[in-house]
Symmetry: C2
Subunit: 287 residues, 2 copies
């Protein structure tokens, strides 16, 4: 990939699409967008985050892009490619920000015409708010970006996708297989959201904010959740997520029973293990 | 309480004791300490955090204090009062930072001589590190401070304890009964630590830091845990903690089963409930 400016098309100008647009405009690329809401386009134009935007299927915008980034719900992404995927030019690289991969990649790769290539990516950054008005590309700094190639991908497309991650400002760029990604994300992201939701559902005292420390606040930050998106993500990665929930519940039950039966040695050894692992985590600063 | 400088004795100069000392010295009070480690005293003296410190039971330091703050493990606190509680002067106010109350308050109140009064408090601030070297009174800013009076306490002692909370720089000072406190803390603090520990124990992949986003990092910050202290705190509040774990596991199981059986309406309604409650939480900024 040379350093010449690219023409990037963002499909879906919400929090993530808007943050991508912001970062890429900053780097001198041409950023166009197709999105449902006229007001999102007006906002992005007024802030100089995009060059052009439309709520229509503008064939010229689709044909002219070097790179297309899809920031849509998974099923909307698949429907879009089904209807309009044939409009991409030969050599166009299509990527995404979707939180699950196995349910998406095969379908998208089989739907695209010869010459346009889909390479999946997962930016591990976000916010508990939505909409382009909350877009902020500073969340990519110090964050992880996972490229998820399949055997159908060319080295060139993988290279472009990794280049895009660096161009967006991500700190660490890694590769995972589709299965590795979906297992990893079930543990690191989907399970943690299930925990935060269950915790908030477990107590209806409206006064808890008066008594809490930082730990509860940090742990439940992600309890503010877009139920349409996350319900779809959970469903599309159900098998992995159920396995991770069960594995977590098994540890929770072990700790619970050790507390009940005054088995100090088990309680303490679990605490030592968690401390050691979390310290290992902290040895990798900045990300 | 007038604004004249007090003589405060800190017993146990670790992270919390040191942070108390730092805040109180800043306000012009005389701060003395009794602690096990000579090096902690040397450190605190060299930073000007305390006026005097000793590893001995210095009767003059004990007799001269207006306010004593105990920052010890619960059983050490009780043993200390058993042996030396009779040395406090008439009118001295004794307080603490202990994370559980029912197991401590009755014993301490019955062990103290007439005239010295114990009023329990729980500063909801801390760090995942220990030792006076990590003391930092800025953690009290924007934090909650809970006073836990019993019917044996005088209005004067409650007033002094609340004054101390303000003097330390806490943002919100509240009162809870012993039972309310121990139930509240089982949910807000002990359960969240159990979750973080169980989550770290559920996965032994050393590479997860390469792929994670902020949510997992925030959720497991408290997985670095002092196993001696927390094991004792869990044990002393066992009944409440087990009830909170069971209540959380019930919600987690409900969500898990709804995911397994594609019951979208239950998944989404739990997500909406958690979002609503967490938003209510955020309406109370700064604390």
């Amino acid at each position: 990939m040379t350093n010449e400016p690219k023409t990037v098309l963002i499909i879906g100008l919400g929090l993530m699409g808007g943050s991508y647009a912001m970062a890429l405009k900053r780097k001198g690329h041409t950023v166009n967008c197709i999105t449902l809401s006229k007001s999102s386009i007006d906002y992005a134009l007024s802030r100089g985050i995009i060059d052009r935007g439309t709520t229509d299927i503008d064939e010229e915008l689709i044909r002219s892009c070097d790179i297309a980034v899809f920031a849509l719900y998974p099923h909307v992404f698949i429907e879009w490619i089904e209807r309009y995927g044939n409009l991409f030019k030969k050599g166009a690289i299509i990527t995404d920000v979707t939180g699950v991969k196995s349910a998406v990649i095969d379908k998208i790769q089989s739907l695209l015409p010869d010459g346009a290539e889909f390479i999946a990516a997962h930016p591990m950054a976000g916010r508990e708010s939505s909409g382009v008005e909350n877009a902020d590309d500073s969340v990519f700094k110090n964050a992880n970006y996972i490229v998820v190639p399949t055997e159908k991908n060319t080295e060139k497309a993988i290279y472009v996708c990794e280049w895009l991650g660096r161009e967006l400002g991500f700190e660490r760029i890694t590769r995972l297989s589709v299965d590795e990604h979906d297992r990893m994300i079930a543990f690191l992201s989907q399970l943690t959201h299930c925990i935060a939701v269950s915790l908030m559902c477990a107590n209806d005292d409206e006064d808890i904010y008066k008594y809490t420390g930082d730990s509860f606040r940090d742990l439940t930050r992600i309890a503010k959740i877009n139920e349409t998106m996350w319900c779809e993500l959970f469903s599309l990665n159900k098998e992995n997520l159920l396995a991770e929930i069960d594995s977590f519940m098994k540890q929770m039950t072990k700790l619970r029973n050790a507390i009940e039966y005054d088995d100090e040695s088990t309680v303490k050894s679990m605490m030592r293990r968690s401390t050691e692992r979390r310290c290992n985590f902290d040895k990798n600063p900045g990300v």
